[in-house]
């Protein structure tokens, strides 16, 4: 009992692939006196790593996940535990065949080898597959399998050899202690207590249980993934290593078949979602196999057996081959499918390194180790930041509902605008009922219901016939309507009313407020009260971590307004950069304020008719904010625009929001005011103006200079990322963000096709474009530009291609379409001089 270290620089809880790689990378970065604890035995303590099927497909729906997978694959390769087998996703339906074309195109964007194959070609690679069942497939030759337990052991041992790590197995965590200030102060285990101010939870399915000991929440749930192993397979008898034949993902049935030595492993995500509460997972001693290898429920798997037999009748139908192993394996699922990484917002010093698969483990270990060391992770992992979750998203009900919904979509055909259905409606703006009456078609952002367009505007379709760039392809028409483009044109002709309740609103206040916002943001915020400033937020490496506006409301009062999707990470950012002396505070006041946008050439007339306040250009200049009287209420009006029109964001107390809506509605209808949805606000209006969006154009890998947003001067005051930013400004950019127009939409079949984002930009000869840093050119945002009559694409291009008028191509569904660089840099394509905004 006394042989354990009493003190550690950090305690890593969990010895699965994540904990081991975190330990290794921390040791590599110079950490010493690390302690790893696990309740189970080494090298397989009983978590999900121990029963993983261990194969890695390089292609992902998210760029972050793709990068984490790519890094992990490299690390596995270096450790010598990777066997490349190739992998094929087979299609049983025409929809899937199209999707596989899309995936191969996506792979091309990111430089991943991929190829669409015919059934015959697949039959040559996988001789035991009945090709009459499939229409074809997508072949990814770099798919491989890894020995994740071996990899974890090697990484753990390397950390030990560096003298940086002590490992305690059989040590169950009993509690996590906190100091008076609320920071982690120690970890109590069955083998003794360890004082530390950093604890990293790498506990997979147990993570919520461990986090709860410190009063933090990690929103994930254990969920069952069924897997069987069938053997001995006579065909595999002579296999020398672990695998010789490509892994087959039978994606239409949510299954995979993967050779494992003499056996064939068959796994499924098709069965009913089986949720297990973290507290119900049996202990190592109670479990018949291991805690995460729960008893197999064969009834759930039977339908999948039939589908597997259909695909591989002879191999799996062999009576001599038996189901030698069958489990309900537990894996982790979060509400949005991304990992939960970073210091928990509730408890300083408590890090979540959870909800990782084998394919991301080492990449996550590296990224979080960098983060814990104060180094900007090379891979932008903001989509996995645990602070992204709102309160409602941390509830068990939400986590379970979304995990259930997401489970059967594991191999689904996921649309870029894919919508969740469970747990809605949840967050409702004050005008929600009015919007419903207007036939709003809602999409969800951070729990908010946001009108994407309004059926009541269908009458505009006739007025704007011929200008609506109507789509016939089912894929591009999903969560889209020509009404969006009609709303856009009506707004540019008269005015539009946009519900922006989903904005997150954060107040930074106190004597130290100015210092706080100055250090957190790039732009000069020591401005007069009443000024509105658009600013980026950078990390130390000069990569984007945010993009938002700040209103100065008083000497000690700044109001930060940001997108709903990033509200919680931005809150965390400002909270982390408050002065240490406690002279400033940041408060989330989102639930106090609703926001309505009023934009268009008639916006001033409409507002003026409803208020006695002076809203003339002289009385209310662009880039300023002031309180005005509207509908018997005091409203904070901010004259800025994300759609390129004259107008205001109007902030009203939330209980007066419906009243303000009614007031503007009554004043505006005679002038041609229409309700306008997020389809215009987030896409068409934005793209015509070339406005960059965080998470699309603005991300960790690119810079302010490359995004074309560098101002003539850099403020004298210090801010996070300043040194890196100054360096970026001193050198020519390696890429330039451009607006491209699609010149011809006609596909081989004659149907007009419209890109949605993520497609590779190619030379006219079809070659991939990459910049000097090896970054490929791909579409970061795409959408209609109804006022310019073109479909618009944003993409970073190498400087020699970023020349206006340059002819290039974009690949979509395996076909190439001609595009032209319309704008190199940030100048808007529509109203380049911004006359409409500043009038």
């Amino acid at each position: 009992m006394n042989d354990i270290p009493g003190r550690a620089s950090a305690v890593i809880i969990g010895a699965g692939i994540v904990g081991n790689s975190l330990a290794f990378h921390l040791a590599r970065l110079g950490w010493t006196d690390l302690v790893m604890v696990d309740k189970g035995p080494m090298p397989n303590p009983g978590g999900s790593t121990g029963h993983a099927s261990n194969f890695i497909f390089p292609i992902e729906y998210s760029k972050m996940m793709m990068e984490l997978t790519r890094d992990s694959t490299e690390q596995y390769k270096e450790l010598g535990v990777l066997t490349e087998s190739g992998g094929i996703e087979v299609a049983r339906t025409p929809e899937r065949m199209t999707e596989l074309h899309r995936r191969c195109t996506q792979a091309k964007s990111w430089g991943i080898p991929a190829q669409v194959l015919s059934p015959e070609e697949i039959g040559k690679l996988v001789p035991y597959l009945d090709t009459s069942v499939i229409l074809g497939g997508g072949y990814f030759p770099t798919v491989g399998v890894v020995d994740s337990l071996r990899a974890g052991t090697l990484m753990r041992e390397q950390a030990q050899q560096l003298g940086a790590l002590e490992v305690l197995s059989g040590a169950e965590v009993l509690g996590i202690d906190k100091s008076a200030g609320g920071r982690v102060s120690g970890v109590r285990t069955t083998r003794g207590d360890i004082a530390t101010d950093v604890a990293a939870i790498c506990c997979g399915v147990w993570s919520p249980r461990i986090a709860a000991m410190a009063g933090a929440r990690i929103p994930l749930t254990p969920i069952v993934h069924q897997m069987i192993s069938v053997g001995p397979i006579p065909l595999f008898a002579d296999t020398a290593g672990e695998i010789e034949y490509p892994i087959v993902r039978d994606v239409d049935t949510n299954m995979y078949e993967r050779q494992h030595g003499g056996d064939m492993e068959v796994g499924s995500y098709a069965h009913r979602p089986i949720i297990v509460a973290p507290g119900d997972i049996p202990s190592n001693e109670e479990a018949a196999l291991s805690p995460t290898e729960m008893p197999f429920t064969s009834d759930d798997f039977d339908p999948q057996l039939e589908q597997a037999l259909e695909l591989m009748p002879e191999l799996l139908g062999d009576e001599r081959a038996g189901i030698r192993y069958a489990i309900n394996g537990l894996i982790s699922m979060t509400p949005d499918g991304h990992p939960a990484l970073g210091e928990t917002p509730e408890v300083p010093g408590l890090w979540s390194v959870a909800a990782s698969w084998i394919k991301e483990g080492p990449g996550i270990g590296r990224a979080v180790a960098e983060w814990m060391s104060g180094v900007t992770p090379e891979i932008d992992i903001h989509e996995a930041d645990i602070s992204r979750f709102y309160g409602h998203q941390r509830t068990t009900a939400h986590v379970v509902a979304r995990a259930r919904e997401g489970f059967n979509k594991m191999y689904g055909i996921v649309h870029p605008a894919e919508q969740w259905e469970s747990g809605r409606p949840l967050r409702l703006g004050p005008a929600y009922e009015r919007e419903r009456e207007l036939g709003a078609v809602f999409i969800e952002t951070a729990g908010w219901e946001r009108p994407n367009w309004y059926a009541s505007n269908e009458n505009l379709l006739e007025r704007y016939a011929g200008k609506l760039m109507e789509r016939t392809g089912e894929w591009e028409s999903r969560w889209w309507s020509p009404v969006i483009n009609a709303e856009h044109l009506a707004m540019r002709d008269a005015a539009g009313l946009v519900d922006l309740s989903a904005f997150a609103v954060l107040d930074v206040t106190g004597p130290g407020a100015l210092a706080a916002v100055q250090s957190a943001a790039v732009s000069q915020l020591d401005v007069a009260a009443g000024r509105v400033v658009y600013t980026s937020l950078l990390n130390e490496a000069g990569g984007f971590v945010g993009d938002l506006t700040v209103m100065r409301l008083g000497p000690r009062h700044f109001r930060v307004v940001t997108g709903g999707a990033t509200g919680m990470t931005d809150l965390q950012w400002f909270a982390a950069h408050l002065p240490a002396d406690g002279t400033a505070a940041v408060t989330d006041v989102t639930s106090a304020w609703t926001t309505l946008g009023l934009w268009g050439p008639r916006a001033r007339d409409i507002l003026a008719s409803a208020t006695d306040s002076d809203v003339s250009n002289a009385g209310f200049a662009f880039g300023t904010c002031q309180e005005i009287e509207l509908g018997g209420a005091t409203v904070l009006a901010s004259r800025i625009s994300y759609v390129g029109e004259l107008g205001w964001e109007l902030y009203a107390p939330i209980e007066l929001g419906a009243r303000i809506w009614d007031t503007l509605w009554a004043a505006g209808r005679p002038a041609g005011l229409v309700p306008v949805g997020i389809g215009v606000y987030g896409t068409t209006g934005r793209l015509e103006k070339g406005y960059r969006a965080y998470g699309a154009e603005l991300e960790g890998e690119y810079t302010i200079v490359e995004a074309g947003m560098a101002r003539p001067k850099v403020k004298a005051q210090d801010f996070v990322g300043k040194a890196a930013y100054l360096e970026q400004r001193a050198a020519p950019p390696a890429a330039v963000l451009c607006t491209l127009t699609v010149d011809d939409h006609t596909s081989a079949s004659g149907e007009l096709r419209y890109m949605l984002g993520g497609e590779p930009i190619l030379s006219t000869a079809g070659e991939r474009l990459t910049d000097a840093l090896g970054r490929p050119s791909y579409v970061t945002s795409a959408g209609s530009g109804p006022s310019v009559g073109k479909h618009l694409l944003l993409a970073y291009l190498p400087p020699d291609r970023a020349v206006e008028g340059t002819a290039l191509a974009v690949e979509y569904l395996g076909e190439r379409y001609p595009v032209t660089v319309a704008v190199a840099g940030a100048t808007p394509l529509f109203d380049p001089a911004n006359d409409r905004i500043r009038c």
Partner: protein, 256 residues
Amino acid sequence: MEIAVFVKRVPMVGGKVVVTADGQDVDTRMSGFTVSPHEECAVEEAVQIVEREGGSVTVVTLGPPEAAEQLREMLALGAQQALLLETDGREWGPIATAAAIAGAVTRRADGGEAPYDLLLFGNESADTGGFQVGIRVAHALGLPVATGIKRLERTDGGLRAGREYRGVQESYDLPLPAVLSVKEGINLPRYPSLPGRLRAKRAKIGSYQPQWQAEGLRKVGLRVPQEARKRAEVLGTGTDAVPALVALLDELGVLP
């Protein structure tokens, strides 16, 4: 040969058994169910006999409706028919169970179906371990019985069953019909094939509710006995451990 194999649905437990709060049952919320290992061997033995000389294997269980799951598992291993003697949640001890099983055997013969030539049991169930049901069934039906069997051969008109008792090999010749209870080790049970599992899924399971009867044995409660802590000895690490390991394997008699 017509063979009936009798199996019992029992909790699949790990190294540590958890009892429910009321002390009446094993906590099975997070564990699965299986049949006793001896019974799995009994099924394998029956399937092999039928594969050799024809006939059919019927698996029979007495238990709740959920026990159909275990019958299907056995069907997947090659049994042809299954019968569920469905209970109503009351406690069934060895007397009641044996009576119900004997009733089922008689009922089959009375129903005009080919009577069983062989009734196979596991030596004892994995949960209650009463060692009684097979013997009681044999007694009720007036059939010869041998227990603890680990070898089985066909003889002219009967079976030769072998077992080991305190180092002595015993051998019994039994005429048919007969009752045997077998032990793990008599064979290596097969795994279910995919086609087997699918056949089992589609198979029809016969069932009826036998009459319960009172008996002497009653469950008062369950308690997990205090076990001596398991000890592990580290023989060494790396190649240094090899001599000690070889010596141990030699002692265990597993080296050629």
